[in-house]
Point group: C2
Chain length 214, copies 2
Amino acid sequence: MNSTPMSAPALPSHATPDRRVVRTRAAVLAAGRGLMTERGVRGITVEEITKRTGIAKTTIYRHWKSREGLVLAIIAEAGAEIPAPHTNVPLSDIRSVLTATWEAMVDPIRRSAFASMIDSTAANPELASLHREFLSAVGGPLADAVARAVAAGQARAGLDPEIGAELLAAPIVVRAFIRADPLDRRYIDRLMDEVLGTRPRSEHPNSVPTGARS
Amino acid sequence: MNSTPMSAPALPSHATPDRRVVRTRAAVLAAGRGLMTERGVRGITVEEITKRTGIAKTTIYRHWKSREGLVLAIIAEAGAEIPAPHTNVPLSDIRSVLTATWEAMVDPIRRSAFASMIDSTAANPELASLHREFLSAVGGPLADAVARAVAAGQARAGLDPEIGAELLAAPIVVRAFIRADPLDRRYIDRLMDEVLGTRPRSEHPNSVPTGARS
DNA sequence: TACGATCCGCTACGCTACGTAGCGTAGCGG
DNA sequence: CCGCTACGCTACGTAGCGTAGCGGATCGTA
């Protein structure tokens, strides 16, 4: 419940934060982010970070008690950077979130980052909260856009935004992240039609869009 | 296109396989499987396998050109062991596949194995075929059960088995694998009702079950 | 400005694990 | 029985994690 112990321990919460601490952490995280985009998650190395920042390895271990904690912090920070589109056209907001999600999941680097995040939470339940934060950073804007679509009458009334977001995200996550299928915009459109009820197809109330319908 | 080069190279396909080769590979894979269930994927170590089997490290590297290839082979083999229930009650077959999937995804060891498999295919597209095989080993029986349900009139007519399987699996994968939610049997039931049309809810044609419906 | 607390850099380790080279031997199939 | 192949062994080289201990630098504050 208190601040995530593995990724950012021990700031004496009452006092003014020491400048050196903030500087060091920022530098390490920045270098880590760079390494991640350059070489992927497995390229994030404590020793490489010391080379780039000039910050001693021992100092890094004074801030994160393991490499894994550091990596998680870097990923979480990157996840917080996800854009939350908010135009006055909710449907296109939804579409862009879904598209961005697909693209992220197919991109080897972010794909790998997400996979190792899941892996970390498997072995280390302590990190579950960080994981949840990351997920809601993505799911939140989507649910929000769904809510706006409902309010604007562009989705069927009575649709719970959370559920709608889950229904939209799940098939896409499976296709993009699990199966590594290439981006299929038509699939996204059909999925939106189906879940949001934009085009209610009375013939097949529960029918489901495919990328390649025969 | 030829046999997966990273995991099992160079069997001269025409000749009779050398007994020594079969024996060695089987022993290594068996030890690897044991290590995986005992210590998880990251516990699979070439050196530990040599200790357990007496097979030299160099020999192992003659069969798999990297640790990653070996790990993938072990995981793929484990995935092929998934049971495909086939009773005369298709709906309960479906339910047991979905339940088993959820349980597998929540179990730290298999969860981690699956995550690292996805991670491997991110960096190494060469392994995509192995990955696909693994997925169809799970998705196949599910689609089969859906098809039998349709044929038996226990699911709405016209439902494409492949699509039905995807619709059933996706939300469960998201809840179990991505979000690490604990097993929720009621959610599975409601999802089945919804997708298979067991209880067609005319009021909300596209409505979706929740674990916690208010 | 002075001072105590804290943070930081440095050197030097130990440890695990991957992956390779080279050589001699044992077991295989024909 | 013979040639070929697989195997075991020793010995390396490399990378990367994580720790110990010390002295110096820097911060916030009196």
